[in-house]
Amino acid sequence: MLEINKLNAQVEDKQILHDLSLNIKAGEVHAIMGPNGSGKSTLGNVLTGRDGYEVLSGDITFNGKNLLDMGIEERAREGMFLAFQYPVEIPGVSNMEFLKAAVDARRKHQGLEELSSFDFMKLARDTSKNVSLDPSFLKRGVNEGFSGGEKKRNEIMQMMLLEPSLCILDETDSGLDIDALQVVASGVNAMRNSERSFIVVTHYQRLLDFIVPDYVHVLAGGKIVKSGDKELARELEAKGYGWLEGEVA
């Protein structure tokens, strides 16, 4: 699914990721944990191809293709999805119009026909109910005036509609109360299958009680300093990140 090999990347002339390697197979859920400033969000932005995030060396293969050759929208159409830590408010662009444009672009890329407006509206309404978002949110501007929890649920709704093969959740749990967290987690769990992989980036172990990972990696100083199974997350919760500082070269 995704192979990251010795990735070095910088933002504004400051190197953030150092020789980072990660191999994710279809159907796996990988959690990436780490202290603030360890490069967690940078990894997500590098994977989606955001401007300003410069790859210095290393390579990334996504579904057998060279990811670094693709533009932002191409990666999305190929099945990569990033749930934003801070979803963007876009007043004046309706959520429905935005979702349809996104789904149309993905379907077209897959050689599928665009959905009719009628069929899409029905699909969008049904999906919004699955994340406990009132269908009236579809008519509003993208994320406009949404609460923190509503924004995150809107992200999960997009993920459900786009049916990506790789989902990256960037601190989706930050700022969520327990109810909203459960809605988000059950949305993610409903999408888990043998074809789809997840990268769950989080600062807190709490999310991993609800989305149980196959692997846990600790990112510190821009590289993976420790990997393990879900028990590693519990250990981190108990001990903090301090005991791993020594592992940073």
Partner: protein, 472 residues
């Protein structure tokens, strides 16, 4: 050889000749009430003695009237004089398809003349100036020109004077006390193709809205041209008197094409606790100048005005708005957004004048512009004059660019950068469209504009224009 006249003098001379010819024709038909004769004569006299605006005239500093002066070259000699009978006027199918279709009382005016065949029956309280009975004549005489008349003499509008001079008909919308207009009133002002013997059309359009205490209504005025590319000069004036606690949603759609010059004005008086929600949109042309002159005359009135302007090619759009807060406790909120592309120009001048007695006034003015080409130009000027000490007032004007983060967000969902820019540029004005009170109009306008944005890159920012600028 006679002395060579300046183009400006030439325009004035033509305009007055036309006014005189029209007065004579109307007198011949003997269908002009005394108040209208007076209005015409007064208008002609005012217009004749008002200097033609030049670059040094503050109100016209950024807008040249050259295209109007050139317009005189076209033969519009008898353009305003009505043909044999009003019944001869009829709209072609081209116009019918340009009209918005929604559940409303539809009234169609062609070059300022009522087109009964294309219109619904005039509802109670509405009448043509030319058909006004004594009671209606009294309402007209009591209210017409009153709004403009309450404005400082120096700021009286030159083209409103000309509109007076050229008046041959108009529409009175009168709502008595506590009456609610059930259906929206849709007034289509159509400029027709020039008759065979002339090269251009001149249209004088006039509406007077008088709403008494506690009445409420929705009015949509739609300016359209029947034939693309026709040369025409439209002078449109709408006067609105809102009585105590009256409420009006007023939508002014100004969508005529390139070849047409339009000078229009809305004059509004708000009495105690009256509410005005206005929406105005103008697509550019060789000349579009629209003035909103609004007066808080009674306490506690609420005024909202949203505006959109779109200019491309070598078009010009100029909005001048003035709000006079003469009394305490008034509220005003004005939001204007424009997108200017190619070599087009736009002007926005928003003036708020808070008189010394107008304590506790709340006034907000915001103007944002997207420039989509390096040759496009916006002259924006918020103007605040405050003489009261206990008021809240905010204003700002910006030249913006598309939000990079929003672009990234859309792209990260698979949307192409080109499509994302169309969506965001349209979204910039769509925010204001969403405030329209009428779903059908919102849909009709939204469809028209999104097609325009998809077809013409002039309104789509490529994110590579000037840096943002902020004025105080």
């Amino acid at each position: 050889m006679s002395a060579i006249a300046t183009p400006a003098a030439e325009f004035q001379k033509h305009a007055l000749t036309l006014a005189a010819a029209q007065s004579a024709t109307i007198a011949q038909h003997n269908n002009s009430p005394a108040w209208m004769t007076t209005l015409r004569e007064q208008g002609a006299a005012d217009f004749a003695r008002t200097p033609w605006p030049g670059r040094k005239t503050e109100q016209w500093k950024y807008t040249s009237l050259q295209s109007l002066q050139d317009f005189v070259a076209a033969d519009w000699g008898a353009a305003l004089v009505p043909a044999a009978g009003h019944e001869a006027v009829t709209t072609g199918s081209a116009v019918s398809s340009a009209l918005l279709s929604f559940d409303a009382t539809r009234l169609v005016f062609v070059d300022g003349v009522f087109d009964a065949r294309a219109s619904d029956a005039l509802p109670s309280g509405m009448t043509l100036f030319s058909l006004a009975d004594d009671a209606a004549s009294k309402i007209i005489a009591d209210n017409l020109g009153r709004v403009a008349g309450s404005v400082d003499a120096a700021r009286r509008n030159l083209f409103s004077m000309l509109n007076n001079a050229w008046t041959r008909d108009g529409l009175l919308v009168h709502l008595p006390r506590s009456v609610t207009l059930e259906k929206p009133l849709y007034i289509a002002h159509v400029s027709s193709a020039a008759p065979a013997n002339t090269e251009a059309t001149v249209a004088n359009q006039r509406v007077l809205v008088v709403m008494e205490e506690g009445s409420s209504a929705q009015i949509v005025e739609h300016y359209i041209a029947s034939t693309p590319g026709q040369a025409a000069f439209v002078n449109a004036l709408t006067e609105i008197q809102l009585g105590n606690n009256a409420s009006l949603h007023h939508t002014r759609l100004n969508m005529e094409d390139e070849a047409l010059s339009h000078v229009g004005a809305v004059h509004l008086n708000l009495q105690r606790d009256a509410r005005f929600h206005g929406f105005t949109i103008a697509e550019g042309s060789r000349l579009k100048r629209i003035d909103y002159q609004m007066n808080h005359c009674g306490q506690g009135a609420e005024l909202n005005l949203d505006g959109v302007y779109l200019a491309r090619n070598k078009q010009l759009v100029d909005y001048h708005t003035t709000i006079e807060h003469r009394v305490p406790n008034g509220t005003s909120k004005e939001v204007f957004r424009g997108i200017i592309g190619d070599k087009a120009r736009a002007v926005f001048n928003g003036r708020i004048h808070i008189h010394k007695d107008a304590q506790k006034t709340l006034a907000e003015l915001n103007n944002r512009n997207l420039l989509t080409s390096n040759s496009a130009e916006i002259d924006t000027k918020p103007e605040l004059e405050i003489y009261a000490d206990d008021v809240r007032c905010a204003h700002g004007a910006t030249i913006s660019q598309l939000d990079e983060t929003a672009l990234y967000y859309l792209q990260s969902r698979g949307i192409s950068p080109a499509q994302a820019r169309v969506m965001l540029s349209f979204g910039f004005i769509n925010e204001l469209l969403q405030g329209l009170p009428h779903e059908d109009i919102k849909t009709a306008l939204g469809t028209h504009l999104s097609a325009l944005f998809a077809a013409d890159r002039a309104f789509v920012s490529d994110g590579d224009v000037r840096d943002a600028a902020e004025s105080a």
